[in-house]
């Protein structure tokens, strides 16, 4: 008997058709992947399968129980980790875990083995309030909470978004172990290496299933979406010798905790500089100091020729910034957002109008000029946010995990924009958790425990540490970490 059986499932919200005649089945004990861009209908599908939503048409059953009539039985048997799994911010790490364990009628001790690999990383902080953890740490705790009980079917909605590569690997190893205990797992993910860990995957797009098959089949059939040809960095090695960013012995301490602990580096003008590190290594803190949002505790630095301690208002005139949280106004239209930020940097109306048309043409966005940003798909929003952040031709642009949760094809397009910017002489300072993106950078640094552990071109690092690719380089360094939260 199949663990999950879905026949012709449809669901709409008002005018939006979230799912259209979706049918598939998952065998007992299978690790099944659901992949597809943001807004494809994945979350709706999960919610219907968990009996949280009613389908408009079609039927679905989990472990033989119908999702409409067998609500109680299903809820007794499934585990679900929503995309934005939220923990109780005011409870400590341990209290959260204990609560969810009790909720599912089990205890931490009973299931310690099944969460050990990840829980040991956050265990040193078990007395800390969850709200004080960094984003990646929270996600790890959420994983532990989802895995602490042993349901017969487990639904995971993009469980590793924002988690560093090392922890992602550990997480998927855990999933493979669970599979051996006959647990059925349905997971969605934007990461290709994770897709390859599944036995079968379904490609969902605009509410329809486009294909089901082994990961290799799907990734080849839909090559354009998932594995577009790598892009070439057009002019590597022709950077000027002028420094756009200079940092010497920079420290930021919160009490006795050194989030950034004595880092020094320089970034040349027009360079694409990858700023890598595990969750909680101190990347965001360092970036906040460079953008003039926070004062360094010690050390000094210069961005675009201005001191970060004293001339931070000057710096702000010459940089662009795009943050982890999506940073355009959702209730303004595309054109209104552009004109707002352009106006802030002192452009006049005529110039704004001209440059806006240029930009929208270039992005092929002209049709959406007067669309509210909130109704754009995530990938588009991020491209737009990036374009807005370099609209005033800054010397340096800071990108904080700009491509989180976006499908590979859109990420490629995004990086094309980055290359274009670099060609115009804009220095790009970017953080990312995607190691394929790390390869695109001219130079990268890897931060571990608040210190820079490695710095150089991707090739140099691979050679120096004797690792085959960036993924291994990163894993090799990040595993040396002794602390794991900021």
């Amino acid at each position: 008997m199949n663990a999950i059986e879905v026949n012709n499932l449809s669901r709409r919200y008002g005018k939006v058709q979230a799912l259209k005649a979706v049918s598939f089945s998952v065998e007992r004990g299978e690790l099944f992947g659901i992949i597809g861009p943001d807004g494809a209908g994945k979350t709706t599908l999960y919610r219907i399968l968990c009996s949280l939503l009613l389908p408009d048409e079609g039927t679905a059953s989990v472990n033989g129980y119908d999702v409409v009539s067998g609500m109680k039985e299903i809820r007794r048997r499934v585990g679900y980790m929503p995309g934005r799994f939220s923990l109780y911010q005011d409870l400590t790490v341990e209290e959260n875990l204990r609560f969810f364990a009790t909720l599912f009628g089990t205890t931490i001790e009973e299931n310690y083995d099944s969460i050990k690999a990840i829980y040991t990383q956050i265990e040193p902080f078990r007395k800390r309030r969850t709200g004080a953890l960094s984003g990646g740490m929270k996600q790890k705790l959420a994983l532990c909470c989802a895995l602490v009980h042993q349901p017969s079917v487990l639904f995971l909605d993009e469980p590793t978004t924002g988690v560093d590569p090392v922890s992602r690997k550990e997480f998927w190893e855990m999933l493979s172990q669970l599979k051996e205990r006959e647990m059925t797992i349905v997971a969605s993910t934007p990461y290709l290496d994770e897709v390859r860990m599944c036995e079968r995957v379904a490609f969902l797009s605009e509410g329809r299933i486009r294909g089901i098959g082994t990961p290799d089949d799907i990734l080849t059939t839909f090559r354009d979406t998932f594995n577009p040809p790598a892009i070439e960095n057009p002019e590597a090695g022709t950077k000027s010798n002028e420094n756009a960013i200079e940092v010497k012995h920079l420290v930021k301490a919160f009490g006795s905790f050194h989030a950034v602990d004595d880092i020094s580096f320089t970034v040349r003008k027009g360079e694409i500089f990858g700023f890598l590190g595990a969750n909680g290594a101190g990347k965001t803190t360092a970036m906040r100091m460079l953008t003039g949002l926070s004062q360094p505790t010690d050390g000094n630095g210069k961005v675009a020729g201005f001191d970060i301690r004293t001339e931070y208002e000057q710096i702000k005139k010459h940089i662009g910034y795009m943050s982890q949280k999506f940073s355009l106004y959702e209730d303004l239209t595309v054109a209104e957002n552009i004109s707002l930020f352009a106006g802030i940097y002192g452009m006049d109306d005529g110039e704004i109008r001209r440059k806006t048309s240029d930009l929208l043409d270039r992005l092929d966005f002209s049709a959406h000029r007067n669309t509210l940003v909130s109704s754009l798909p995530l990938g588009w929003k991020q491209k737009l946010a990036f374009s807005v952040s370099i609209f005033h031709d800054p010397h340096v642009v800071f990108l904080d995990e700009p491509t989180g949760g976006v499908d590979p094809a859109t990420r490629r397009q995004f990086w094309k924009l980055i290359y274009d910017a670099a060609k115009q002489g804009i220095t790009v300072f970017v953080t990312t958790h995607y190691m394929d993106e790390a390869e695109y950078c001219d130079r990268i640094s890897i931060m571990v425990d608040g210190k820079i552990k490695a710095l150089g071109t991707p090739e140099e690092l691979k050679q120096k540490l004797g690792q085959p690719d960036m993924d291994h380089v990163f894993t090799f360094l990040a595993r040396q970490a002794t602390r794991c939260a900021d």
Partner: protein, 361 residues
């Protein structure tokens, strides 16, 4: 110039919001149409029970007098005091008049009979005003000598000859409108940007904090200005009440209060991280400021220590000055020290507000 773009953004956002435009329209209308009727502490319709232990012509004349008086609602005659008291306990009546035995005999003999007036004083104001009027009626009947003295005393009520409660309350309602429009709304707006993360984006741009703060406040000041106008028109249209003094002074006072509330809201928003926190903290202080401002009860009845707080309570200055202008028809000369105090407190708060807003920490 940057201000222009920021202002355009704020107005667009207010317009697009599903809730705010409705609030801005509905709130003043509700405040002006409903509140004056509700916030009416007028004492009237006092329900009276009479216990007549004398049952003479004289005593019945007194009973009829009470019955005929428009001020009271005559509930009936009760056989005993206990029966009348039970009515009070059921809240079906408010006061009892007990006419003693030998009432008419005492009157004839020239002695003063002792009539008992007992009022439910759980609500002290109602009890004391009610019993005072009852006493006057009784005295006029029962003690001619005292009545003649009473007739020498006359009372002239200035400014509000009909003793209309609405005239008293409407100027104070402006304080509530300003509080919401220039205090609450900008605060929620700023904390909302904090929660959404967009404020980070503004903080890394060269926008100066003055520009940013002004861009947040100016739209709500304009809205407040508009709302005050609507309120003035409504109070004229519905109740026929127009300020006795100069309209310009009304606007001046409203704007000074706006300065205070905006600064105060800004301070709250700088110290809170979530909307919920901001709302609670604001609510707490606003309730205190309003209750202790003399909006409902005279400040001079407060204990001395509490009365001292009115010296630093801008709402108190506002309400006093507003009533002077609107009801008593005062001019600048009558309210200059309230204006100065409001201005001083407002400026002090705005300095603190700008000081506490940090782009770099």
């Amino acid at each position: 110039m940057v201000l222009k773009y920021l202002l355009r953004k704020e107005f667009t956002q207010i317009r697009r919001n599903s809730f705010l435009p409705r609030l801005i329209i509905v709130f003043p209308i509700m405040v002006m149409c409903v509140m004056p009727w509700v916030m009416n502490m007028e004492v009237k319709n006092i329900v009276v029970d009479v216990v007549d232990n004398d049952r003479s012509t004289q005593s019945q004349r007194l009973v009829h007098e009470i019955e005929a008086n428009n001020y009271f609602v005559f509930h009936g005659q009760q056989p005993t005091y206990a029966a009348a008291l039970s009515n009070i306990e059921h809240s079906t009546s408010d006061a009892i008049v007990v006419i003693p035995q030998h009432y008419s005999r005492d009157l004839v003999l020239g002695r003063t009979p002792q009539v008992l007036v007992a009022a439910n004083a759980v609500n002290g104001t109602k009890g004391s005003i009610g019993s005072a009027y009852l006493s006057q009626v009784v005295i006029a009947r029962a003690s001619p000598s005292a009545a003649s003295v009473q007739s020498q005393v006359s009372t002239l009520y200035l400014y509000n000859k009909q003793l209309d409660f609405k005239r008293f309350m409407i100027p104070a309602l402006f304080a509530i409108v300003m509080m919401l429009m220039t205090g609450y709304l900008p605060t929620l707006n700023i904390v909302g940007e904090k929660e959404a993360g967009t404020i980070e984006q503004i903080n890394v741009t060269p926008v100066s904090k003055w520009t940013f703060i002004l861009a947040k406040l100016i739209p709500y000041w304009i809205i407040a200005f508009f709302v005050v106008t609507v309120c003035l028109l409504l109070s004229w249209g519905i109740y026929g009440i127009v300020p006795a003094g100069s309209i310009a002074l009304v606007y001046l006072l409203a704007m000074l209060l706006a300065l205070f509330f905006s600064s105060f809201g800004l301070i709250v928003s700088n110290y809170s991280d979530t909307m919920q926190q901001a709302i609670f903290v604001m609510w707490f202080f606003v309730v205190m400021l309003l209750l202790l401002s003399g909006l409902f009860t005279p400040t001079r009845s407060m204990p001395y220590a509490v009365y001292l707080t009115t010296y630093v309570n801008p709402v108190s200055y506002f309400i006093e000055a507003m009533r002077t202008v609107c009801i008593r028809g005062g001019d600048m000369g009558s309210i200059y020290h309230q204006v100065l105090a409001l201005l001083g407190i407002g400026l002090l708060m705005s300095m603190w507000a700008v000081q506490s807003y940090k782009k770099n920490c």
